[in-house]
């Protein structure tokens, strides 16, 4: 039996909404292999962001399991899941989500604040990824002194600084012009070539071309599940 990096089994997520219930994910089954670049596409409200948060060990499903490296994410305690996110996952959020009072360097250092690495090692790692995303000369600037594309690069640097095997990106190009978006996608492709598994949520069909595989969603379900799997 083949073991996949991420396995999603019978996943179901229901949100209570007053007297009714909203089914965000409806019985999903799929897997993602190590080193893949997968896009999750769908219209707004199709459940793709919920799926990303569930896969990112941040949102407990109503039913079903998410296995990462044979580890049942929701069999872990809250604090264990935090440790898991720190070690295994890098997040690139919609709208960058940088901490406004920290410099580029400090924002990138943030995920390492709770790791046991030595100061020098942390500094080297942070400067390494800042250099990688081309912002060495802006390391001590605050986020509001950067352009949108530069802020996205900082978000990417922060996501990869701990060298996580999996990168989850939620609409990473949503707030960028097409040229900058292409640059960001090239950066993500580069990371994928280096071995990072990338799962990217987007509703932009142009971005699909950069990925190896696409999972299309509609109303919490996978369209064409056999193709997706």
């Amino acid at each position: 039996m083949t073991t996949h990096l991420i396995e999603v089994h019978e996943l179901n997520k229901v949100y209570p909404a007053g007297d009714t219930r909203v089914v965000a994910i409806d019985h999903m089954d799929f897997f993602i292999d190590d080193g893949e670049f997968v896009t999750i596409m769908g219209q707004s409200g199709s459940g793709k962001s919920t799926l990303l948060s569930v896969m990112g060990a941040m949102n407990r499903p109503t039913k079903g399991r998410v296995m990462v490296d044979s580890l049942d994410l929701y069999g872990l305690t809250t604090e264990q899941r935090a440790d898991f996110r720190s070690e295994y996952m890098g997040f690139i959020f919609q709208s960058f989500q940088l901490v406004p009072y920290l410099t580029v360097f400090e924002n990138v250092m943030l995920p390492m604040a709770v790791t046991g690495r030595k100061k020098r090692e942390k500094n080297d790692m942070a400067m390494g990824v800042i250099d990688r995303v081309g912002l060495s000369d802006k390391a001590h600037r605050l986020p509001d002194q950067l352009s949108g594309g530069e802020q996205e690069r900082v978000a990417i640097a922060r996501a990869i600084v701990n060298r996580p095997p999996i990168i989850l990106a939620d609409e990473p190009t949503g707030n960028l012009d097409s040229e900058t978006a292409k640059e960001i996608m090239a950066l993500l492709q580069g990371l994928n070539r280096e071995g990072h598994t990338i799962i990217m949520v987007t509703h932009n069909p142009e971005m699909e071309a950069h990925a190896g595989r696409t999972i299309r969603m509609k109303d919490g379900r996978i369209l064409h599940p056999r193709i997706a799997a």
């Binding site: 962001s49 919920t50 941040m58 949102n59 935090a82 959020f93 943030l110 604040a113 709770v114 939620d170």
Partner: protein
């Protein structure tokens, strides 16, 4: 990058809000410090006054007779059975357990003598001790320096038509009036005060004393216990503590202290509430930021540490600033509310307590907001994933 960098960064970014938060602590701590400093000054001042007030313990020979004197008026013409102590035995007073609390021990011999053709009250004293005890005595002329000089009470001087420098014959022996006391309203107004040995000789009671006035330093001294200790050494003596005045004044201070503590507790409570509300507001404002922390792998305890570190820094700042402000306020207010009162000085022990109290208060008031922040679900907090 450590967690405290995040806390300090947030404090720097939200200066206005953090100053407002610290203000709650500063006002609370400075109020406590001011009130306690005022109370401390009042206590010290009263204690100093009591120390200067003179005798607070009187030792007289035991007698079965009751005094028939009220307000200086004798009734019934009772003849008193006068008894005395041996002056040589008085050294035993300094062997009591609390001897270090004893200030001045002033013996006296009392008796009637004839002066200027009139019967007068003759009081023999050791001037050095007596003047140390009766700091409020003011005189015309000088205090006696030799055994042939006397000091006259204001009434006696008036009746005998005496003044400093004049000669006065007492019991057939010539004396010079060295000085005349200004009226005191006390028994000394009617007395001719002579050196102890001279008075003992005139009264025919060599080596005897009629009473002993003792000044014990009051600050922290157990007057009642001192009285008992002296009475144990002198079984034939009646030792009385003149503590009514002390007690009533101390009771007033105690009441003010209770009031101060009550006000302090109220102000501190309001300060704590202010800290809690502001911290809650800060946590709510930072929901998204906390969501990021949690999403990138911060544990609940890490988020709590960030919030509590901020509270600790503000608590320490509030404690120091409150202590300084409280002392400044006390320095300014005390001369206005206490007559002849001066600021008693900085109490560093109170400073330490203020600092600890402010830090503890700030931490305690921030505990619930920190718990709330720690328990935030990252996906709920971000609302974007």
């Amino acid at each position: 990058m450590k967690l405290y960098n995040i806390s300090m960064g947030n404090i720097r970014r939200r200066k206005a809000k953090m100053i407002f938060l610290a203000l709650g602590l500063i006002i609370g701590i400075s109020t406590v410090v001011t009130l306690l400093a005022i109370t401390e000054t009042m206590t010290l001042q009263i204690e100093e006054r009591l120390d200067k007030f003179g005798a607070n313990i009187v030792m007289v020979p035991k007698t079965e007779n009751l005094s028939l004197n009220y307000g200086g008026i004798d009734v019934g013409g009772v003849s008193y059975e006068l008894r005395e102590f041996d002056q040589a035995s008085l050294g035993k007073i300094h062997t009591i357990k609390n001897a270090k609390n004893l200030g001045v021990v002033a013996p006296k011999i009392l008796g009637a003598a004839e002066a200027g053709g009139k019967k007068v009250l003759l009081m023999g004293v050791v001037f050095e001790k007596e003047l140390a005890l009766k700091t409020w005595w003011h005189k015309k002329g000088a205090f006696p320096e030799t055994g042939d000089q006397v000091l006259l009470g204001a009434s006696v001087a008036s009746v005998l038509d005496q003044a400093p420098g004049k000669r006065l014959t007492i019991g057939g022996r010539p004396f010079t009036v060295a000085g005349v006391l200004m009226p005191t309203g006390g028994a000394e107004d009617n007395a001719v005060i002579a050196e102890m040995s001279a008075a003992q000789a005139l009264l025919g009671k060599p080596g005897k004393v009629s009473m002993v006035e003792i000044a014990a330093f009051c600050r922290g001294c157990p007057i009642s216990e001192l009285t008992l200790q002296i009475a144990e050494k002198f079984p034939d003596a009646r030792v009385t503590a003149m503590k009514q005045a002390v007690m009533s004044k101390m009771q007033s201070i105690e009441m003010f202290k209770s009031f101060s503590l009550g006000v302090s507790a109220l102000v501190i409570g309001i300060g704590a509430l202010l800290v809690m509300v502001t911290m809650m507001g800060s946590v709510n404002e930072r929901t998204r930021e906390i969501g990021i922390f949690r999403a990138i792998g911060f544990r609940q305890t890490h988020v709590m540490q960030i919030i509590l570190l901020e509270a600790l820094v503000l608590g320490i700042f509030g404690g120091i600033a409150g202590f300084i402000l409280g002392n400044l306020a006390a320095w300014g207010i005390i001369p206005m509310v206490i007559e002849n009162g001066g600021f008693a000085g900085i109490n560093y022990k109170l400073g330490g307590i203020s600092l600890l109290m402010a830090a503890a208060l700030s931490l305690l008031a921030s505990l619930y907001p920190a718990l709330k922040a720690g328990r935030m679900d990252p996906s709920d907090a971000l609302r974007v994933l």
